[in-house]
Amino acid sequence: MEMGEGWDEPSSFLNRTGKRNIQRWKGKTASCPASECPVGTAGVGTQVGRERRQPGHHRTRQEQQPLGGHIGGSHPAALPGGECPLQPLPRAHGHPRPRRIRSPRLERPRRAGTAPTRGNGSAHVQRRHPPEIGISREEALEALQVVRQECHGDAARTAGGSGATRKCTALELLEEEQAQGFIITFCSALDNILGGGVQLTKITEICGAPGVGKTQLCMQLAVDVQIPECFGGVAGEAVFIDTEGSFMVDRVVDIAAACVQHCHLIAEAQQEEDHRKALETFSLENILSHIYYFRCRDYTELLAQVYLLPEFLSEHSKVRLVVIDGIAFPFRHDFEDLSLRTRLLNGLAQQLIIIANDHKSAVVLTNQMTTRIGQSQSTLVPALGESWGHAATVRLIFHWDNSQRLATLYKSPSQKESTVAYHITSHGFRDVQPPAVTHSAEGTELNPRKRPRTEEEKQQ
């Protein structure tokens, strides 16, 4: 790109409406060395939307500029020679002239000498004006805030007002994250690579070939989320949205019974009062009644259910886990229009993120695998395409390796990529072999695959 040295970050002026250009140009003298340049000292750029075009020589910001173009009326100071070397640029093909939506309010405040704003108080129009009307930036900011308050007073704010202030410092976020619980999976190796278990407020995606154990893990998590806090759980309820019909109540009964038995053993060993009290409510009937099951037969029902989910979650505020078993199944057939599918999936992902954050619950999705046929070989990749890969925060891929089931952490913002082996027993999801920790006299001999919880208990 042929630019003079006075330009920093040349790509910044590629902005179609040219709003951000002014920031970059602060402090640059704008006198054009070219003798016949009519622009002269135009201050910090020309104003957007004003009809200040000098046709034929310089293009205003209204015209879309390709790379290497010259926007607006100002020149960088360090242009050599007296001739303006820039030629009038042809309009870039195919770029429409950006239409400015100007609200009528824009005119009035300017005349009064205050900063103009749009109806919704966009501040970016504001920033280029301070040097022009001759007030300082802070005064401009104050004026802007006053105007903004007026506008926002009219607009009806719904309960989404909590979403308006989603900012907080990283320190607050750190405290929140450390206080947050995890949903354990009863497989200590898997919990370790996940950093403690399935995290709340995050979307976890589990991909795998059929029969590898995705639904088993979902059922295990639906039971584990209800473990009382004194045993290291989050004491929440679960919503199970089933699109494939693979939810077997009998299996959940088995898993829940094993979990209750496990907790009983711990309570007997620890002999603490609150353990015993918690165990009274942690019974099979209670576990099953706190799993809310929805059977969605096609993608319309799934969309409808996700639209209604925030309302449901505000009624049942103890829900800490939302499982969607088989998010790929309803979207893989009957869809000729792939762009519609991508749009619906993206909308779904956004809503799930909002749900996860607002209600502090974990969202677990199961995905299928599809074959990507390359030049020479074909590989198994998660279904639903590349854009869906951005939806989940944490991605686990389950696969086989000669009759051993393996779980790979494929994508995670805080943990490194690793693979562990796991087992599915009649009690549910478990480690492959008992980890090499000393077996204290807790009756672990009864179930050698049970994860020893002594260390966790001591940390409580």
């Binding site: 019909g245 009644s289 809310y292 099951y293 029902e301 969309l303 046929i373």
Partner: protein, 253 residues
């Protein structure tokens, strides 16, 4: 559920009229639009559109049940949970037999006995409940023309001589097994779609498709471009209808 008309979703008359002008008549089309498009089409504000969305969603959304209710329902009717195969070791590992209400797939290399197994299951399904059967009709969709009625009678007579002691009983049993010969993918799919009425009218308690792979392999060559997508389209569509039948009527498929 998806094809539910918007009228039935309790939207106002004028709203329905307005949407019909844009060719939006079912809930499915309504929910597929983005919020911006909905605002444009209905002419309502952002918050009104959200309320409309909730209304329409409530019309399509599935009913909530807790796992406990499901368990109670199942345990209230234990005999209908499985179709016992009368092979004791198989029944043991299957926890009772072929489960009712879900799809079961039987695969094997050729000649191992899949069709024989299916014929035996059809005999078992026609037996009365006291003998471990389902006391109902059977729908048998045959794509390989491998079903032999004589073999059926031979099996029934040899296996349950006490029950099928007269010819009448045998004929009665054969009358309740409905055989459909379909030889192409399209006809199989059409047949599956039309099964719902038959299941209700003939009191069918078992659906067998023998076999799904043969007809698919004949028609779709995966080496050709585009066939893979079509094939999986056909399979998933068939699978979802079968799943719906299995769950709605609590029958094994």
């Amino acid at each position: 559920m998806a094809a539910k008309k918007l009228r039935r979703a309790q939207l106002s008359q004028e709203m329905c009229e307005r949407l019909r002008r844009y060719q939006i008549t079912t809930c499915q089309e309504f929910l597929c639009l983005s919020l911006l498009e909905l605002m444009k089409v209905t002419g309502q504000s952002y918050y009104e559109v959200q309320k409309l969305l909730c209304k329409v969603s409530r019309a399509c959304a599935p009913r909530m049940q807790t796992a406990y209710e499901m368990k109670l329902r199942k345990s209230g009717n234990p005999s209908s949970a499985f179709l016992s195969t009368t092979l004791h070791s198989l029944d043991r590992i299957l926890h009772g037999g072929v489960p009712c209400g879900s799809l079961t797939e039987i695969t094997s290399p050729p000649g191992c006995g899949k069709t024989q197994f299916c014929i035996m299951l059809s005999v078992l399904a026609t037996l009365p409940i006291s003998m471990g059967g389902l006391d109902g009709a059977v729908i048998y969709i045959d794509t390989e023309s491998a079903f032999s009625a004589e073999r059926l009678i031979e099996m029934a007579a040899k296996r349950f001589p006490a029950y099928f002691d007269s010819d009448e009983k045998l004929l009665c049993m054969t009358r309740s097994i409905h055989l459909y010969r379909e030889l192409t993918c399209c006809s199989v799919l059409k047949r599956i779609m039309s099964l719902e009425e038959e299941v209700i009218s003939k009191k069918v308690k078992l659906i067998i498709i023998d076999s799904v792979a043969s007809v698919v392999r004949k028609e779709f060559d995966t080496k050709l471009q585009g066939n893979l997508a079509e094939r999986s389209n056909f399979l998933t569509r068939g699978a979802s209808v079968l799943k719906y039948l299995a769950e709605e009527f609590s029958i094994p498929v």
